[in-house]
Assembly symmetry: C2
Homo-oligomer: 520 residues x 2
Amino acid sequence: MSESKLQLVLKTAKGTKDWADKDMVIRQHIFETLTKIFKKHGAITIDTPVFELKEILQGKYGEDSKLIYDLKDQGGELCSLRYDLTVPFARFVAMNNLDKIKRYHIAKVYRRDQPAMTKGRMREFYQCDFDVAGTYDAMIPDSEVMSILVDGLTSLGIDDFKIKLNHRKILDGIFQIAGVKDEDIRKISSAVDKLDKAPWEDVKKEITVEKGQTEEVAEIIGKYVKLKGSLQEVIEILEKDEGILANEKAMEGLKDIKLLKDYVESMEIDSYISFDLSLARGLDYYTGLIYEAVTAASAPPKDAQEKKEQALKEKSSKKSKKAAKNAGEEDDASAYVGVGSIAAGGRYDNLVAMFSEATGKKNSPQIPCVGVSFGVERIFSIIKARSNLDKISSVSTQVYVMAFGGGPEWNGLTSDRLRILKKLWDNGIEAEHMYKGKVNPRKQFDAAEKSGAQIAVILGKEEYLEEGKLRIKKLGPEYSDDDGELVDAKDFVQLVQTKLAEMKEANGGLDEITKLVKGI
Amino acid sequence: MSESKLQLVLKTAKGTKDWADKDMVIRQHIFETLTKIFKKHGAITIDTPVFELKEILQGKYGEDSKLIYDLKDQGGELCSLRYDLTVPFARFVAMNNLDKIKRYHIAKVYRRDQPAMTKGRMREFYQCDFDVAGTYDAMIPDSEVMSILVDGLTSLGIDDFKIKLNHRKILDGIFQIAGVKDEDIRKISSAVDKLDKAPWEDVKKEITVEKGQTEEVAEIIGKYVKLKGSLQEVIEILEKDEGILANEKAMEGLKDIKLLKDYVESMEIDSYISFDLSLARGLDYYTGLIYEAVTAASAPPKDAQEKKEQALKEKSSKKSKKAAKNAGEEDDASAYVGVGSIAAGGRYDNLVAMFSEATGKKNSPQIPCVGVSFGVERIFSIIKARSNLDKISSVSTQVYVMAFGGGPEWNGLTSDRLRILKKLWDNGIEAEHMYKGKVNPRKQFDAAEKSGAQIAVILGKEEYLEEGKLRIKKLGPEYSDDDGELVDAKDFVQLVQTKLAEMKEANGGLDEITKLVKGI
């Protein structure tokens, strides 16, 4: 017992992990794909610190605030790790008195939540956010954000998704129609948000028994929030509904939705959208359109409840056996949760002004914002689950430099190899060699194969030392008969480039990671 | 007083800052340039969490450990923000039982140090690390790392740097020759390391008065550590030195240096290197070659001491006036420090085994490592100080879509604009429009100019609605006479692409950020 205490356990902290090799290649490809899309829409990028002053984050996340990581008080300011990229963005806009900005931000955020590692639900994870701040005409930036959402997912080979969409003003209108008091709206809203995971009966019970609304109120809410379908279908129903027609807030929202319908039809992305009146989203700061993209992997497994109970039973039996104090640190919910939404966002028109006003400025201008956030690890888990990674290489090596020779004075020509390598590097060519003086050819070919190099540049003892020649040979099983071509050592680079171009053309020109993600 | 307490101060935490606009363009260019170089050398990339278990970092940084940020104990594991990328790398290698790996890692690290923001010395900053782990022949990976260091800085337009280089075994040998006890070596070493900032007399005083060595010991140390010059020059002196010749450790180091000299000469990077026996480097874990790159901006200003005293005086006078409690948080040392080294590294052969052994494994294999770390913010500050950023654009917009028209039924053709934009986006073209329904042409041209777009796609009321035509016009003062070209709306994309290619060719084909960094 005391011995194990002295020993270090080599691990990463709970809910975090190292990324390497092919996983990194996929994740980098996700970043690059999304970055290219964000840039297509004229966004700049910003980078804010990983930690913010604690008070910047306070009061922004409702009951999720308990999941915020704080830094230890080591003297000086009290700080917390950022929980999302939206609040730091709003702080940035307010702090710099910007009246408009279009930005993307790809960075890590932190939540002390129950992890489900294989489902991409982690304590340290990336968000890829695109947001438009500024006062514009209704639904024009919003519809562009929807098109970015579609472009982002389809570019990553995900086509079987649905965008659940709703409008906070319509939702709030419904609660008013049902007779919910204004101060109760957010908590009833969060009950309704559970409709994707629980049957209406459970949600109704929460609304009435737990949250004190009458049966009648619940029934009216139920009538509306069970509505979903295409924008066209649900608009038609709402336009004939007397409750909606008489409610100012709901009508404002409906006007937005009708405009949005025109715009997404013009962009031919309407087929992805499901207008779903049960979507509420947890965060307090949304004020208009809200949406989230889901796929088949988003939902928990059918037997989630059983699996969860099983996991809890195992955990408590471990505890009763007085297992190591932090066995609980190993908990993982992967068995009984789904991937969840893979991208989500909405309109938040008051967050920037909230910051400006908190600094004591009177009459701070409202800076309306709308944005979307892609959940990279969740998207990653979907791509990885469906892909064969065999062909992906995590290194870019194109050329392997080797030296063949022997005899008593043979030294492996290390200095000469380095001279050759330097020329390749200076010409932008990815090239490696074995970090050894004397090695036999077999080992060098094996190392070249492992590196994924396509060309060998060989310093043969006689060829190089007596004739000043290098041998350039194509690698790979299909070129096993290729003896290579001799070339003057002083202009070998051009021949290497020619052969690399030939091989790239033979391979179809597309890199393996693009083929994999696109399912080609 | 009480009012100001209620008000939020919108700021980032001490020693951290937001990055945006052109600064981001420069920094991204640094990342991309270094990434390309790292990939040329066959490295994979890894990503480790921002925080590690506290015990992983403990005992690795000597007296700098006090600068580590800890997370608050909120239940569960105790964690700290990473201090560098080297210790997490060694943890990764040990945890995965790797016997070799070549990796690069570009990520933020955290140090609770006195910031000097305009000199790129911050509490949150990026490191760009390249490391080779594995058992190889002497100096082969080391010399490749030196070539990466040279390639990295010259590719970023920095040519006027010097690599100060030394060998821990030679340094330790010198201390043995002088008669320093083994247990005192590291503290004498850190005194010697100050020779780049202080005269020998001050260093000698520290060695004798503060650190208890005799005058004689100090004199012998002084004789050696004042030596510096080309590899050739210093090797010649050491090879004739009887003390060195009789010291086993120093001779081992010298053998390495002689081999290195051959290799760096083969790669023609020897002219950058200054063999400087006073270089010691603070970190405990180095065991062989150590080096750091410096430029003219690295040193503090000549009147640093006066400026520092001035700053301290101002600070204490503020305090005496009972200024706000955390006025101290604003301290910045930019006025009296230099940029410091802009890249540094060395060989650390024992760090991985230290982790393996701490887990209780007996006879863990030694995994020797060598690497280099680029200080991005410091390099950034040099590039920014010498550059004219006027031509740099922080957005990539190529095309601006406009609608011209008027009259009572004019609606701005928003849906049509979105249809046109979607086609551009789908073809990978960066395109924007104004997020407004009806806007006059002047405002649209102004917005296009601000966006940096090169081409306007214009929906003219009659041309578009009656003839189904779009007008494609080049933008910019040199094309003010261009009335544009009418094209069928269904195949306008090709004409846009042709015109963009023409304009790119006219511009020389090089992007502005490359021209700026390279000083073209």
